[in-house]
């Protein structure tokens, strides 16, 4: 049984109590302690900056050409915080409760409560950095709603909240680089963890420009490398988003938790053809104002504008009157799939539903006319005013939609369909964010800790920054306080040499295959298996087939992949090959985990386990645990369990009706 090291005492004093009693490291000793941070998204950049400010010697790594480009940059809608600025009944407890419930009771209470507690500090910190959040005319911060909640607690910067938060963290990071507290290694990829006497003591990284392998020592290593949604090939992740750092940690003894918990986001631009390289999200914030519908008639080929109001089925409003279009993502995605599978889908592929802003445009137009004391205005004038308001709120998203599809969403409803977006699973960590390997930590999307089986909108940014700004600076001290006598270990230590030669062997092996198929060929095949059999709905037979198919595909990859170029040069195909090799192992584990979890919860929907009206049916008696998998070799894993204890929230059948 895994020990999460959750502090004793009542839920709402655990973190306060922990902070009061954890070990500290004095400033002089901090200067001698080195920390490696892998990944510079919200979690990594905020951690590297904060630890640098504290005086630790930090080395940060990213594969992009600049830390500012990590995929947190693409987060659109917002960040939650229990500020209760709107006076609408929000509190730390409510945010905690919504998050645990939204996660379908598969998250750890103590972590989620801590997340809610520090959420307000995050907004304070970001504003102090100069992050330009949206404001009201009085000069104070503006809020909006996101799915799975009934209060307005989401802070935002148009549809570019992730960008603005990341640039805030990036600027804090660059400030520490200038001060010499952080050394930045861009265009570097971590390819292995170095362990000495059971503790994480460094990494092997590849300089992506020269291809040279480098050894880097650290008293502790932080994996902040994001999620693994690209296992599916098509996802809203960036092309370079990968699981390699997390997977190397897994191969080195860190357990991987709840790999089957993936989030399929309901509102993405549908696939347009085989050439598709990625999918684009249309922010959940659009569901504040957009209404989702399909025709009431099957296989209706009429244009949206030709379908009269009474022949439209606003199925979310019909099925979930209490939350309507703002049900959580897993619920909205399954509902869209259900309608499309039943033959009500729209567009050429029939794999899409409408997201319609006509009602919102008219409503905002009327409000605007009232505000300006305009009377007897024509419908056209109202619509024009309404479009201006909608453009201010969502302009960049509408523009993006128009560029990709060639259609004007102000005139005709968007066509949307669910797509892989986020992964709740990740490296297992305890309360201190430490993995099962001492000295090896994991932050942000790369860990599993806070979102259970389904993440609520605007909570990923919150978690990444909570972990980096406000959790790790405390918890890492508790470990490093016992490391002050450990001198920096020279990188000619045999453990570094062994790790480097292992990495070199793998790269050489990949290059020497000289097969006939490109890396993308295998990646697309893997993605199709995963989407068909481990996607929005899963069943025993499909998962068993998927496991066999992935094993066969992996064997074929190692026999037949073709990688052009050389090892010792800039070689993007070689980078991709290493990542896909890891996806081919992780994808199998996702299916194994999904097979093991014979219940439905959140984003994990087992067809065998549903209520009469098609909702996810949990099995708390048998599955109220975190599944943490220990790597023994490809296809060989041992399952460890962490029982989930709910002291504060009573798990019930989630209802958004």
């Amino acid at each position: 049984m895994l020990n999460a090291k959750i502090p004793a005492g009542p839920l709402n004093t655990k973190w306060e109590d922990y902070k009061g009693h954890c070990k500290l490291v004095n400033p002089a000793n901090k200067r001698n302690l080195e920390i490696i941070v892998v990944g510079t998204g919200l979690a990594g950049a905020s951690a590297a900056a904060s630890l640098g400010e504290l005086g630790y010697k930090v080395k940060a790594f990213c594969f992009q050409d600049s830390p500012r480009r990590a995929h947190s940059i693409a987060a659109q809608g917002g960040i939650n915080a229990a500020k209760n600025y709107q006076n609408d009944g929000d509190s730390v407890y409510r945010l905690f409760y919504d998050t645990v419930k939204g996660g379908d009771y598969r998250a750890r209470e103590a972590n989620v409560h801590r997340l809610a507690e520090v959420s307000g500090n995050i907004i304070d910190q970001c504003v102090a950095q100069g992050v330009p959040f949206a404001r009201e005319y009085g000069g104070l911060l503006s809020n909006r709603s996101f799915g799975g909640t009934q209060v307005q607690r989401t802070f935002y910067a148009a549809g570019q909240t992730g960008q603005q938060l990341l640039l805030g963290a990036y600027s804090a990071l660059e400030r520490q680089v200038a001060l010499g507290n952080v050394t930045m290694y861009s265009r570097h990829e971590m390819l292995d963890i170095v362990k000495i006497d059971g503790k994480a003591r460094g990494i092997i990284a590849r300089n992506l420009i020269t291809g040279q392998l480098e050894r880097h020592f650290g008293h502790a290593v932080l994996i902040c490398s994001g999620g693994y949604g690209n296992v599916f090939f098509l996802s809203t992740n960036a092309m370079g988003s990968n699981a390699t750092a997390a997977w190397k940690a897994t191969q080195n003894g860190a357990y991987f938790a709840n790999p089957c918990f993936t989030q399929i986001h309901p509102t993405c631009i549908p696939v347009s053809g085989d050439h598709q390289s990625k999918l684009t999200l249309m922010s959940e914030s659009l569901r504040n104002d957009g209404r989702i519908w399909v025709p009431k008639k099957q296989n209706d080929t009429r244009k949206a504008s030709d379908i009269p109001e009474e022949e439209r089925d606003y199925y979310l409003e019909r099925r979930y009157p209490a939350f309507g279009n703002l049900v959580p993502r897993d619920v909205a995605s399954r509902a869209a799939k259900e309608r499309c599978d039943a033959g009500y889908g729209v567009g050429t592929s029939k794999q899409a539903v409408f997201l319609d802003f006509a009602a919102a445009i008219e409503r905002y137009g009327n409000i605007e006319a009232n505000k300006r004391q305009m009377h007897g205005v024509s419908k056209e004038e109202i619509i024009k005013l309404g479009k201006e308001v909608v453009a201010e709120k969502y302009g960049n998203l509408f523009d993006m939609y128009a560029k990709i599809t060639g259609e004007n969403p102000y005139e005709t409803p968007m066509r949307i369909y669910p797509a892989v977006h986020y992964t709740m699973g990740g490296l297992w960590v305890d309360y201190e964010l430490q993995t099962t390997v001492p000295g090896l930590y994991s932050l942000g999307e790369a860990n599993f800790s806070d979102h259970g089986a389904n993440r609520l909108g605007a909570s990923a940014l919150m978690q990444g920054l909570a972990d980096g700004y406000f959790v790790i600076p405390y918890t890492i001290g508790n470990y490093l306080a016992d490391e002050i006598r450990t001198k920096a270990i020279p990188t000619d230590h045999p453990a570094f040499a062994a790790a480097e030669s292992k990495v070199r062997d793998t790269l050489t092996k990949l290059m020497s295959i000289k097969g006939s198929k490109s890396v993308d060929h295998f990646h697309k095949k893997l993605g199709k298996i995963m989407w068909d059999k481990c996607g929005m709905a899963r069943n025993e037979q499909g998962l068993k087939e998927a496991i066999q198919e992935i094993q066969a595909l992996r064997a074929e990859f190692w026999k037949d992949v073709r990688i052009p170029g050389d090892i010792n040069e800039f070689n993007p195909e070689l980078e991709k090959a290493g990542r896909v090799a890891d996806f081919l192992e992780l994808g199998e584990l996702m299916c194994m985990d999904a097979l093991n979890r014979r219940e439905s919860c959140g984003g994990h929907f087992r067809e065998e386990s549903q209520t009469e009206d098609g909702e996810a049916q949990r099995d708390d008696a048998n599955f109220s645990y975190v599944a943490a998998w220990e790597y023994k070799g490809p296809s060989d894993y041992v399952l460890h369990k962490e029982d989930l204890v709910f002291e504060e929230v009573k798990p019930t059948q989630r209802s958004y009706k």
Binding site: S66, H275, P473
Partner: protein, 254 residues
């Protein structure tokens, strides 16, 4: 939207590494769908090159939704290609027609050396930010967020400046390879907000000094940067930077 397929001729800059002299290579792109993005067209061409046992074209890209700033192609003489306010990854093939010849080059600027083919080194931008593109506030120092009210108009202007994605198109578009639009966007964002006020003078002076040190050229107000910026960062930011810089130069006590 009508879809169509097309055959294209590509003239692409190939350069093995920074020491190689580089040259244009002519390639054919066949059966390209108008629904593809420009980079998806490159994916198709690269897949073909790999299948033929040739070296694929190296190009930077990541988010493919126009926000990370990684993609950086100079297409038919325009940074990020023919569409206004659009990154290369968001440019779609319906911008072209059957039989077109498309010339693709990397960003051309002394401060952005070529790494390989269409990939350049933009680390100079990071070093400019290091020189002062931040508010010096350690984690934990902050007061309650609503203790700092900000005039909405100014907040909106700051946001518009902060939308810069650091792609470098402004430099690539400028005949002088000036980085003034990039630098002015960050200086403006922080000069417009009360949080940025204490370091306002040193920020403008130090960031400009670093920009010069990196070898970017001077601004001669031609406005090419604004015209090509995928985020439509306004030229007025450069005017603001000039005001900030001059007033800092005249009034600073250091």
């Amino acid at each position: 939207m009508e879809h169509y397929n097309m055959n294209l001729t590509l003239k692409v800059w190939r350069q093995k590494n920074k020491n190689d002299q580089g040259r244009f290579e002519t390639l054919q792109a066949k059966d390209i769908s108008s629904e593809m993005s420009f980079l998806e067209m490159f994916d198709v061409v690269n897949e073909e090159l790999i299948n033929e046992g040739k070296d694929p074209i190296a190009f930077d890209h990541d988010c493919r939704e126009g926000i990370c700033g990684m993609c950086s192609m100079h297409i038919n003489g325009r940074a990020h290609g023919p569409w206004d306010g659009t990154t290369t990854c968001q440019l779609h093939m319906r911008a072209f027609k059957n039989g077109d010849t498309i010339t693709v080059e990397p960003w051309r600027a002394g401060a952005f050396p070529v790494i390989k083919d269409l990939t350049v080194d933009r680390s100079a931008f990071d070093r400019i930010i290091e020189a002062g593109g931040y508010v010096s506030v350690n984690t934990g120092n902050a007061q309650d967020a609503n203790c700092i009210p900000v005039d909405k108009h100014k907040a909106d202007l700051a946001f518009a400046a902060a939308a810069c994605i650091g792609c470098g198109a402004c430099v690539a578009a400028c005949k002088n390879s000036s980085a003034m639009l990039f630098v002015s966007a960050k200086v403006s964002q922080l000069a417009l907000l009360p949080q940025g006020d204490p370091e306002r003078k040193t920020r403008a002076l130090n960031m400009v000094a670093q920009m010069d040190k990196e070898g970017f050229g001077s601004c001669t107000n031609t406005g090419a940067c604004e015209a090509e910026c995928p985020k439509e960062i306004s030229l007025t930011n450069i005017a603001r930077l000039n005001r900030e810089f001059i007033s800092a130069g005249m009034t600073t006590e250091k």
